[in-house]
Subunit: 195 residues, 2 copies
DNA sequence: GTCTATAGAAAGATAGAC
DNA sequence: GTCTATCTTTCTATAGAC
């Protein structure tokens, strides 16, 4: 069972990812150096390259994990069949999830442009898949007659932007509780799409 | 009227600002070098320092100019007294202005964190002043009874996020005209705040 | 006002000892 | 698996010629 000195591969990898996520979200991908990430983890800069081929791959990994986790979480969510109730569920889910993963959401909206074209497209596809979930709900409600939307695609983008915006102003321990915020947004969205 | 060789101070300054705006918006402040900006303008890197004390001051100047221009433009806008009509005017104005200044809007939402604390606070004050314009409209409509909003502050942030989001998906020559987009957003906002 | 040249610091990434 | 040391490139910013 003897191990080499300083062998911590099972724990160092996740710690590097966590440190990178936090630093990238706070200062921006390009403004953060590999040395800073290494210092946060408590290793030397060179050691990072045992876990990632380069800096961009580290960013891509964070973004892809986030999007895949988001899609999986929505899939696992209990989803009513009725469009109106399903929309409520989406709103609550999106806000709750965004507030739980503030840093990753920030990254996903800010650092796409630092990806190579191929990686950019891959994240774009995952994002489109998520947007399609909301769009399907709106389309179903529209077909059923419970929603009145002149343009379903625009409404999809408008609602997601509105909900994701919660990340720009929400602060832990502020005036409103998370449940309270979910409720207010849910009501605004309900009214905005209503016939 | 003899001038020194290569004297273009009246025109080089604005061209530097334009190049910096475009590059910062496309690649991010930290990812753009002074050399790139200089190359875009057609001067040497050293020449930039005749127009700005450093790189951050260049960013700060762009952000401040944008916010001041935004506030001045809204001030110059014809504004109905009735809250409902005034809200319509705000929505149309915000979308129109955002689409006319895509790059600056992008910068304003992405690069605040690259400012020093003092400069950050200065831009924050300008942004708050703008948000206060919308919040005042919502408050007036609420007091008058034409709007029904459980939380005026949250509604302010939600509406601005929704409207500004147009920048993330709008492309020139796309499916919808600018006027059409303004109209659809106006209707969604109207419904969202209605009693 | 712009140029060339460069100082001085810091970046990403790699090599090889342990 | 992590370290130290370093290669190579690039950066911001300045100095001084023209």
């Amino acid at each position: 069972m003897a191990r080499k000195t300083g062998s911590h591969s099972e724990i160092t990898g996740p710690r590097i990812r966590a440190a990178a996520l936090s630093l990238f979200a706070r200062h921006g991908f390009a403004a953060v150096s590999m040395r800073q990430i290494a210092a946060e983890v408590g290793v030397q800069a060179g050691a990072l390259y045992l876990y990632t081929p380069d800096k961009e791959a580290l960013l891509f990994d964070l973004l892809r994990s986030h999007m895949e986790e988001l899609l999986a979480a929505w899939e696992a969510e209990p989803k009513p069949a009725e469009p109106a109730a399903r929309l409520d569920a989406f709103v609550r889910f999106h806000i709750r999830h965004s507030l739980m993963r503030t840093e990753a959401v920030f990254l996903s909206y800010m650092e796409l442009r630092n990806l190579s074209p191929g990686n950019f497209a891959a994240i774009g596809r995952l994002r489109s898949a998520y947007e399609a979930e909301l769009e399907a709900i709106l389309r179903a409600g529209q077909a059923e007659g419970s929603f009145a939307l002149p343009d379903t695609r625009l409404a999809t983008m408008a609602i997601i932007a509105m909900l994701t915006g919660v990340n720009t102003w929400y602060r832990e321990g502020g005036r409103l509780s998370r449940a309270g915020i979910e409720e207010i947004y849910r009501d605004m969205v309900r009214k905005a799409v209503a016939g």
